[in-house]
Amino acid sequence: MTLNRLLLRAASVSKIGSRSAFTAAKPDHTNPNWLRVGLAFGTSAFLWGLLFKQHSTDVHEYKVRNGLE
Protein backbone atom coordinates (compact mmCIF):
# COMPACT_ATOMS: atom_id res chain seq x y z
CA MET A 1 0.00 0.00 0.00
CA THR A 2 2.76 2.48 0.96
CA LEU A 3 4.72 1.40 -2.12
CA ASN A 4 1.69 2.34 -4.21
CA ARG A 5 1.44 5.66 -2.43
CA LEU A 6 5.14 6.43 -2.98
CA LEU A 7 4.92 5.62 -6.66
CA LEU A 8 1.72 7.65 -7.07
CA ARG A 9 3.39 10.61 -5.39
CA ALA A 10 6.29 10.29 -7.87
CA ALA A 11 3.72 10.40 -10.66
CA SER A 12 1.99 13.50 -9.30
CA VAL A 13 5.28 15.40 -8.80
CA SER A 14 6.12 15.23 -12.50
CA LYS A 15 3.27 16.81 -14.40
CA ILE A 16 4.64 15.95 -17.83
CA GLY A 17 5.61 12.33 -17.20
CA SER A 18 6.43 10.83 -20.56
CA ARG A 19 4.94 10.78 -24.03
CA SER A 20 5.36 8.66 -27.10
CA ALA A 21 7.95 9.69 -29.66
CA PHE A 22 5.87 8.21 -32.47
CA THR A 23 2.22 9.22 -31.96
CA ALA A 24 0.58 12.49 -30.93
CA ALA A 25 -2.66 10.91 -29.67
CA LYS A 26 -3.14 10.46 -25.95
CA PRO A 27 -2.99 6.79 -25.00
CA ASP A 28 -6.47 5.37 -24.29
CA HIS A 29 -6.25 3.26 -21.15
CA THR A 30 -9.94 2.32 -21.03
CA ASN A 31 -9.61 0.06 -24.12
CA PRO A 32 -6.61 -2.20 -23.68
CA ASN A 33 -4.70 -3.35 -26.74
CA TRP A 34 -5.59 -7.01 -26.31
CA LEU A 35 -3.13 -8.14 -28.95
CA ARG A 36 -0.24 -6.64 -27.01
CA VAL A 37 -1.58 -8.06 -23.73
CA GLY A 38 -1.86 -11.51 -25.30
CA LEU A 39 1.62 -11.28 -26.78
CA ALA A 40 3.09 -10.17 -23.45
CA PHE A 41 1.47 -12.99 -21.48
CA GLY A 42 2.26 -15.45 -24.27
CA THR A 43 5.92 -14.46 -24.29
CA SER A 44 6.06 -14.76 -20.49
CA ALA A 45 4.57 -18.26 -20.65
CA PHE A 46 7.00 -19.17 -23.43
CA LEU A 47 9.97 -17.91 -21.40
CA TRP A 48 8.89 -19.87 -18.31
CA GLY A 49 8.47 -22.99 -20.43
CA LEU A 50 11.90 -22.46 -21.94
CA LEU A 51 13.38 -21.98 -18.46
CA PHE A 52 11.89 -25.18 -17.07
CA LYS A 53 12.96 -27.11 -20.17
CA GLN A 54 16.52 -25.75 -19.91
CA HIS A 55 16.63 -26.59 -16.19
CA SER A 56 15.48 -30.16 -16.70
CA THR A 57 18.02 -30.61 -19.52
CA ASP A 58 20.76 -29.23 -17.27
CA VAL A 59 19.81 -31.57 -14.41
CA HIS A 60 19.76 -34.58 -16.73
CA GLU A 61 23.11 -33.60 -18.27
CA TYR A 62 24.64 -33.20 -14.79
CA LYS A 63 23.40 -36.62 -13.70
CA VAL A 64 24.69 -38.32 -16.86
CA ARG A 65 28.14 -36.73 -16.60
CA ASN A 66 28.55 -37.62 -12.94
CA GLY A 67 27.39 -41.19 -13.37
CA LEU A 68 24.20 -40.83 -11.36
CA GLU A 69 21.90 -42.09 -14.10
Partner: protein, 109 residues
Protein backbone atom coordinates in the same frame (compact mmCIF):
# COMPACT_ATOMS: atom_id res chain seq x y z
CA UNK B 1 29.55 -17.45 -26.81
CA UNK B 2 28.00 -19.62 -24.11
CA UNK B 3 29.71 -21.78 -21.56
CA UNK B 4 32.29 -24.46 -22.42
CA UNK B 5 31.35 -28.12 -22.36
CA UNK B 6 32.92 -28.83 -18.95
CA UNK B 7 30.43 -26.42 -17.34
CA UNK B 8 27.69 -29.02 -17.92
CA UNK B 9 29.29 -31.27 -15.29
CA UNK B 10 28.49 -28.71 -12.59
CA UNK B 11 25.22 -28.98 -10.65
CA UNK B 12 22.76 -26.61 -12.31
CA UNK B 13 21.25 -23.74 -10.31
CA UNK B 14 17.73 -24.16 -8.96
CA UNK B 15 14.80 -22.45 -10.68
CA UNK B 16 14.72 -20.13 -7.65
CA UNK B 17 18.17 -18.59 -7.29
CA UNK B 18 19.51 -15.28 -6.05
CA UNK B 19 20.20 -13.69 -9.42
CA UNK B 20 16.82 -14.75 -10.80
CA UNK B 21 14.96 -13.29 -7.85
CA UNK B 22 16.96 -10.06 -7.98
CA UNK B 23 16.60 -9.50 -11.74
CA UNK B 24 12.96 -10.58 -11.63
CA UNK B 25 12.22 -7.99 -8.96
CA UNK B 26 14.14 -5.38 -10.95
CA UNK B 27 12.04 -6.18 -14.02
CA UNK B 28 8.85 -5.93 -11.98
CA UNK B 29 9.93 -2.61 -10.41
CA UNK B 30 10.84 -1.18 -13.81
CA UNK B 31 7.32 -2.00 -15.07
CA UNK B 32 5.87 -0.27 -12.00
CA UNK B 33 8.20 2.70 -12.57
CA UNK B 34 6.98 2.98 -16.15
CA UNK B 35 3.41 2.99 -14.84
CA UNK B 36 4.25 5.71 -12.36
CA UNK B 37 5.93 7.88 -14.99
CA UNK B 38 2.88 7.59 -17.22
CA UNK B 39 0.54 8.49 -14.34
CA UNK B 40 -1.14 5.09 -14.17
CA UNK B 41 -1.83 3.11 -10.96
CA UNK B 42 1.61 1.53 -10.43
CA UNK B 43 0.68 -1.96 -9.22
CA UNK B 44 -2.77 -2.47 -10.68
CA UNK B 45 -2.20 -1.45 -14.29
CA UNK B 46 -0.20 -3.12 -17.02
CA UNK B 47 -0.06 -6.50 -15.29
CA UNK B 48 0.99 -8.05 -18.59
CA UNK B 49 3.98 -5.72 -18.67
CA UNK B 50 4.91 -6.51 -15.06
CA UNK B 51 4.68 -10.24 -15.78
CA UNK B 52 6.74 -9.97 -18.97
CA UNK B 53 9.57 -7.90 -17.49
CA UNK B 54 9.71 -10.04 -14.33
CA UNK B 55 9.88 -13.21 -16.48
CA UNK B 56 12.64 -11.77 -18.65
CA UNK B 57 14.60 -10.83 -15.53
CA UNK B 58 14.10 -14.28 -14.00
CA UNK B 59 15.23 -16.02 -17.20
CA UNK B 60 18.36 -13.88 -17.58
CA UNK B 61 19.12 -14.40 -13.86
CA UNK B 62 19.14 -18.18 -14.31
CA UNK B 63 21.78 -17.96 -17.03
CA UNK B 64 23.79 -15.39 -15.08
CA UNK B 65 23.84 -17.85 -12.14
CA UNK B 66 25.06 -20.64 -14.41
CA UNK B 67 27.87 -18.42 -15.68
CA UNK B 68 28.73 -17.36 -12.12
CA UNK B 69 28.88 -20.98 -10.89
CA UNK B 70 31.19 -21.95 -13.73
CA UNK B 71 33.47 -18.94 -13.16
CA UNK B 72 33.90 -19.67 -9.44
CA UNK B 73 34.38 -23.42 -10.07
CA UNK B 74 37.10 -22.64 -12.62
CA UNK B 75 38.87 -20.22 -10.26
CA UNK B 76 38.71 -22.77 -7.42
CA UNK B 77 40.11 -25.51 -9.64
CA UNK B 78 42.96 -23.31 -10.85
CA UNK B 79 43.77 -22.19 -7.31
CA UNK B 80 43.80 -25.74 -5.93
CA UNK B 81 45.93 -26.89 -8.84
CA UNK B 82 48.47 -24.14 -8.05
CA UNK B 83 48.53 -25.15 -4.37
CA UNK B 84 49.06 -28.76 -5.38
CA UNK B 85 51.99 -27.85 -7.68
CA UNK B 86 53.69 -25.51 -5.15
CA UNK B 87 53.47 -27.23 -1.75
CA UNK B 88 56.57 -25.42 -0.51
CA UNK B 89 54.61 -22.16 -0.40
CA UNK B 90 51.78 -23.66 1.63
CA UNK B 91 53.45 -25.65 4.41
CA UNK B 92 51.88 -25.66 7.87
CA UNK B 93 53.79 -23.46 10.26
CA UNK B 94 54.79 -25.11 13.51
CA UNK B 95 52.04 -24.32 15.98
CA UNK B 96 52.88 -23.13 19.46
CA UNK B 97 50.57 -23.46 22.41
CA UNK B 98 49.78 -20.39 24.49
CA UNK B 99 51.76 -21.90 27.39
CA UNK B 100 54.95 -21.58 25.33
CA UNK B 101 54.31 -18.01 24.18
CA UNK B 102 52.92 -16.34 27.29
CA UNK B 103 55.44 -14.71 29.64
CA UNK B 104 55.37 -15.66 33.33
CA UNK B 105 52.99 -13.47 35.34
CA UNK B 106 54.42 -11.50 38.25
CA UNK B 107 51.60 -9.61 39.93
CA UNK B 108 52.53 -6.24 41.44
CA UNK B 109 49.94 -5.48 44.03
Amino acid sequence: MGLPDEAKALPPPGIINRNSVWLGVIGWCSAMLQNAINRRPPMKSGVHRQALLASIGWFIGYHVTKHENYTYARLDRDMNEYVRLHPENFSDKEKKTFAEIVEPFHPIR
